[in-house]
Amino acid sequence: MASGVRRARLMLTWYWKSGLLSSLCLVIPLIVSGCATTFSPTPIDDVPFKSRAQIQTKGGLTVTAAVPTSEEANAIYGVDLASKEIQPIWIEVENAEETPYWLLPSGLDPAYFSAAEAAHAFASSQSAHDGESITEHFQGLRFKNPIYPGATASGFVIVNRDEGYKALDIDLISREDAASFTYIIEDPSFKGDYTLVDFYTLYPIEEITDLQDEHALRDALELLPCCTTNKKGSEQGDPLNLVLIGNSSDIFPALIRRGWHGTEILWSKSLRRTIESFLQGSRYRYSPISPLYVFERQQDLAAQKARGTIHERNHLRLWLTPFRFRGEPVWIGQISRDIGVKFTLKSATISTHVIDPDVDEARRYLVEDLAYSQALAKLGYVKGVGVVSENAPRMNLVGDPWFTDGLRAVMLFEPRPRALSDVEILQWEWPLPMGASASQGLRDASQ
């Protein structure tokens, strides 16, 4: 017996020395939580996530939404949802209208999970009895339609997990009507770019100009800096080719609705994941974006939209300007389409993206993408950097060439939903037809 203990102790020392123990320490809790013999979720009211809930009211509908952290979700569900890249959203609807309403989970996430589907991820590896109680527990926690007149319904919808801020589109329909609510809820554990900037104190009140008139807005936008710069401000980079105007609760959900995600600031974990995703071409959605400068500071906010792999994604950087238009914030920004990756010593991320030199194409992409966001109200163009021809391209800070018609797209956002045909066009500048100088390679035999 005693020798057994000694042997175990010796082995422990050996493991410790060889560094194996530390990896075991990581593995053991995983195994234990993976086959938890006692499935014992915490009662929902004992988990304090609702203290961060946000409430909105429209007519007779009051909608409350809250997002538990991974740990809170773990407690409520009794299993580690985050390990399957899913998370629960808690919604409560109080219906003081005269008709029943239905919540549309598809609006929250078109790829949401049914309770049975999510439960299957955990129940299938359990004993039959535990598996059943997991499924029952998941079913019990879900949001159940409809919301009867005079009643309050609450529960969870399980969606794909986002890091950072979660934008929630909550749509309710009834026989007569539909009501839309939009929330942005922050995850305190995420180090996104935006958490670095305090938008409220970025500009002192006396530096802010609130423009009322569209002509004044146009003039102001044309005078904004043409391009991003390096940190010192001594070299110019990519052109600032877009302006977004509107309430944050209209603009950012519109971006998220179209699959744009916030980026993590450069810190080691994130950098490691970038390298991993570079090596595997995998899909890490939040890899950091290298800093560019305007107004002598790096981007206030960066977002990216991944397409096939990390090599193919679009990057968007935004800076808050000292202007407001009819009280709403005005952002200036830069968008580029990454078409591949190369190595550079000029960026802290080591690898950097090769951009499509036709930066107008990326601008066009964003305009179209946001036209589908249901929140774009007005679109126009103003002068920006000026024409840079394809034959004499400029270089950005990492040596990629770019050319442009020199305009910046201006997009104004309003509360959704708005149909595609409702986008109003501002009679300012307008991009030249793309085909103006192009020689067509495809000829018509009849011509």
């Binding site: 399957k84 549309l104 598809s106 078109p110 790829a111 999970f113 049914s114 049975a116 589907e117 999510a118 991820a121 299938s124 339609n145 409809p146 009867y148 749509d171 329909i173 009507d177 539909a178 179209r258 699959g259 570079f278 991944a306 397409r307 193919e312 389409r337 078409i339 591949g340 190595f343 080591i350 690898s351 090769v354 499509d356 030199p357 036709d358 194409e361 990326a362 992409y365 179209e368 993408d369 036209a371 589908y372 249901q374 939903p417 708005r418 149909a419 595609l420 045909s421 986008v423 066009i425 037809p433 793309m434 085909g435 192009a438 067509q440 390679g441 495809l442 000829r443 018509d444 035999a445």
Partner: protein
Amino acid sequence: MIIRSRTNQGRWRLRTILLACLAMFAGGCATTTFERPAIIDAGALRERAESAVEDDIRVSAAILSREESTAIFGIDLSEKKIQPVWLEIENNSDRRIYFLRTGLDPEYFSPREVAFAFVESMSDDDGKRFVQHIESLDFRDPIDPRSTVSGFIFTNEDHETKFVSVDLLSRGWASHLTLLVPIPERSISEDHIANIQAMIAEAKPLHVEDGSQLRSLLEKLPCCTASENGVQGEPLNVVLIGNLDTTGPALARRHFRYIPVSPLYAFGRPQDLSAKKVGGWVATQPHVLRVWLTKIRFQGKLVWIGQISMPKGGRFAGATSDESLPVIDPDVDEARNDLVQDAIYSQLLTEIGFVKGVGPVARSSLRTTPGGSTYHTDGLRAVLIFDRVPVSLTEIELMGWERLTDHYRQ
């Protein structure tokens, strides 16, 4: 001291990774040569293209075979899973029109991106000529009044039939057209779409104008699918009303793809069409939809009856489950309700209603199907009526038929 040595170690690790990456890059350097193909005749493409005309605008689209792709681009773009769509828009109106390529494929490739995927392995000269060539073939906006523009949009690969969704925009005006374009190298031998069009042409339709007559006809349709030898199976829980050019794109917009699945039977025949919800960059609930064309035509539109369900476990089902006829999730209403939502968000839905179908089957007394699945349901079928005009959430009408809310109150 210790700290410094760790930092060095870190640096070395980075360098090793860097070297490994560089080696990967170098390894990828096969040489490809590019010869700019001779000018190509668009006439042949136009001849076999699918076309639609509306509001003085003609839209034609064709998908290239591999051979054609190689002939036109000098390289087979399908090597990188890029599927070029040839598009021609003839504008006989007074408007200047813009085409929204994001509507056709939200993850489309820019011409230079297409070029970049191949130039790596080309000499500098070849690369430059290739970029220019791809650019010159791009579809270029806008389409001026009384003019025609043609060119290519570089999309992600589809395998059977491509729903080419064309959103056109002008000041204060928008239009939507959809073309069902066959893909030359599709993997199934028979052309389902052609078969269905033949079926529509040959059918002796039962024309219905009135909503309440429609309702009673829908309630008399078979309750369930059957096995080949007639044993009752899963409930027929959806009715889609709309022509192929509206229901198809409505489903396609919500990531349903036309994919053949194992046969279930109704009206003595296997499903006429099937689709799976596959998702884009993010996987969606993997619903399987089978539909059969009925004889009913409601206000001139085709009426389809169908069955939608999710394989048990959904995205978390193990790879071991039998693909040919997977067991379905017993809560079939969940899949039906998800389809209703997809229809709502497709912006092509005008009306929703519910009619009686198989009738209630309680959770406590599950019904079994010949495929070995069990299910429970409220017994209703969702009726979804589609139209080609864009419809926003607030404009969808709900028919006062069976009231789902009454069913759930019990």
